[in-house]
């Protein structure tokens, strides 16, 4: 770690303050809000995949779970503070249980991918088939394919009438992202984060050192899910409707693509990847010349082939080259291993 913790925090605060101030002049805050939320979602996978070595094909499951938890709790409670907390807790607990099952079973790599994918599919299929009136949680109808509209959106804690909406909501989301980013920074600098990095590198060795690898991976997985859950709750507030497509494989795929394009093993990469690609998708919606899916796919293929480390490390390298600062190049091996977890 080249920078000290204090430098890191200061840099983060200054850059993010600038961005939060400047960006609304370029892009509408409503669109910006969702880019920020996707950034958080990207960060959640970037953390567990890039730093924890856990390849999760079902990050969307936690995103959807957070959004649905928020919607259901908000309908039943009518005030947004507790639902927000639940939306973080429920996915985290779910991930902890799922993670414990997988990691104590010593599942790795592709098998991990299959299980997370299958669990996402199960959730999707279940939620998608809850249109009947018998699927009710408290006062909330699950609604199946059509989802749940019309729930209480974010309010000033304690005052259900004071909605946080429009521009203020953008600032809430942006600040939430900065806080999550700083927490992730802190986590990675802590012993827990450094041990997690060690586990990513070599599980057997970390086990032989006496670390309970399965427990630590489970915790890491749950933290990632908690962040995804928070992003889900914010997304529910933004769209004012939750639908099963939040759980879909397509959504999971997008998160993975964000991480690859942005750069694994970096904190900022997945955020940039998420915001950039989501904005691209938004722009492409205003043209009909080339199919959108085609472009997304092409980007993914080209990145895997030609820039497998992603944008963030490439930009950093470019920056160093231009400004002539010599620093030890990140080891190629490190990046590749990160991917293979």
């Amino acid at each position: 770690m080249a920078r000290t913790a204090l430098q890191d925090v200061l840099l983060t605060l200054v850059v993010s303050a600038l961005l939060i101030w400047i960006m609304p002049m370029l892009i509408g805050t409503y669109t910006l809000t969702v880019l920020v939320i996707y950034g958080m979602l990207g960060l959640s996978l970037g953390l567990i995949w890039g730093f924890g070595g856990i390849l999760c094909f079902g990050q969307a499951a936690f995103f959807g779970l957070g959004a649905y938890t928020y919607a259901i709790a908000a309908i039943n409670i009518g005030e947004s503070t507790l639902p927000m907390l639940l939306a973080v807790l429920v996915p985290a607990i779910f991930a902890a249980l799922l993670g414990a099952m997988m990691f104590y079973g010593r599942l790795t790599d592709v098998y991990l991918g299959v299980i997370t994918l299958v669990v996402t599919l199960i959730l999707f299929k279940f939620v998608n088939s809850t249109a009947g009136p018998q699927y009710v949680i408290g006062k909330a109808r699950l609604g199946g394919f059509n989802g749940i509209p019309g729930f209480q959106t974010l309010n000033v804690p304690g005052d259900p009438g004071a909605y946080i909406w429009g521009d203020p909501y953008y600032y809430v989301c942006a600040v939430a992202l900065v806080i999550v980013f700083l927490l992730v920074t802190w986590l990675l600098r802590s012993s827990f984060g450094r041990i997690a990095l060690g586990i990513r590198e070599n599980e057997v060795r970390m086990g032989l050192m006496g670390y309970d690898v399965a427990a630590r991976k489970t915790v890491m997985f749950a933290i990632g899910a908690a962040i995804a859950g928070l992003a889900g709750a914010l997304f529910a507030n933004w769209g004012e409707i939750v639908t099963p497509s939040l759980f879909s494989l397509g959504q999971s795929a997008e998160i993975i693509i964000w991480c690859i394009v942005g750069g694994l093993g970096t904190r900022i990469g997945p955020i940039i990847g998420a915001a950039g690609l989501a904005y691209l998708k938004f722009l492409l919606g205003q043209q009909s010349l080339i199919d959108n899916t085609l472009i997304t796919g092409l980007i993914l293929v080209l990145f895997v082939l030609f820039l497998p480390k992603g944008l963030a490390p490439a930009i950093a390298a470019l920056f160093r080259a231009v400004f002539g600062r010599t620093r030890r190049k990140p080891d190629a091996r490190r990046m590749r291993r990160a991917r293979h977890g």
């Binding site: 592709v110 098998y111 092409l298 293979h340």
Partner: protein, 288 residues
Amino acid sequence: MDLTFVIIVETLYAVASLVLISAGLAVVFGMMKVINLAHGEFMMMGGYVTITAVGLGVNVFVAMLVIAPLVVGLIGLVVERLVIRHLYGRLVDTMLATWGLSLVFIGLATMIFGNTTTGISTPITGFAVGNYQINGYNFFIIVVSIVLVIGIYAVLRGTRAGLIARGAMQRSDMAAALGYSPDRIYMATFFCGSALSGLAGAVLAPLVGLVPTSGGAYIAKAFITVIAGGPALIAGLVSSATSFGVVSQVFTFAISPVFGEVALLVLAVILLRAMPQGITGRLFKGKL
């Protein structure tokens, strides 16, 4: 009694279609340790090739059994040369690249064929069993799957190419040591795998409405079947397709198709948790 027969046929059909949709993926995974996530789109393309060929006046069986596998196999060959070749040995990277390819194919198909559902009618008529009408085409699919499995077995056991392939499956460096270029083996394997995917898509096309995103419905199932099957190609494919097919049909008939699908997925989680290396990683060791 008639209903029992119908249920048996439907179950056999479920198993057969799982074998069919997983075969291409299994061949590529078994030989090359590459998971081709564009597999579903290869099937989708097989379907479109068939429909296009039939539209041009080709006999439907020729279109399904010859043209579709050939065309999709060739597309596979191009994909292998352009993309997969650069990523051998990097399991996760190939998964991501083929995932990207699947999106590219969906996009291309959308631009060419549009999102409107298309299809051809089944070339075999239904017939009656007691009070029940059965889809005659189901038998065709069952037969194709059986022939396919026997065919793969015969090729692996009885031909020189099969011997090399088995060698490559065990130890990828062995074929090289024997003087065969692994590059060419991989090319051939990927061609065969893609052709099988194309065949599966073509054969299933008359039963479903085809849209560019049709592949998505297959890939998850095929992926699960192959991984749960484990390292042995044929034994793994057949054993996992049988377990999944039977379980999902039992739940489908007892409750509903949704429960059938969910039962399949839950079984997959249990299987992989209990046998992290797949069924043939624990049982049937050393079989093909």
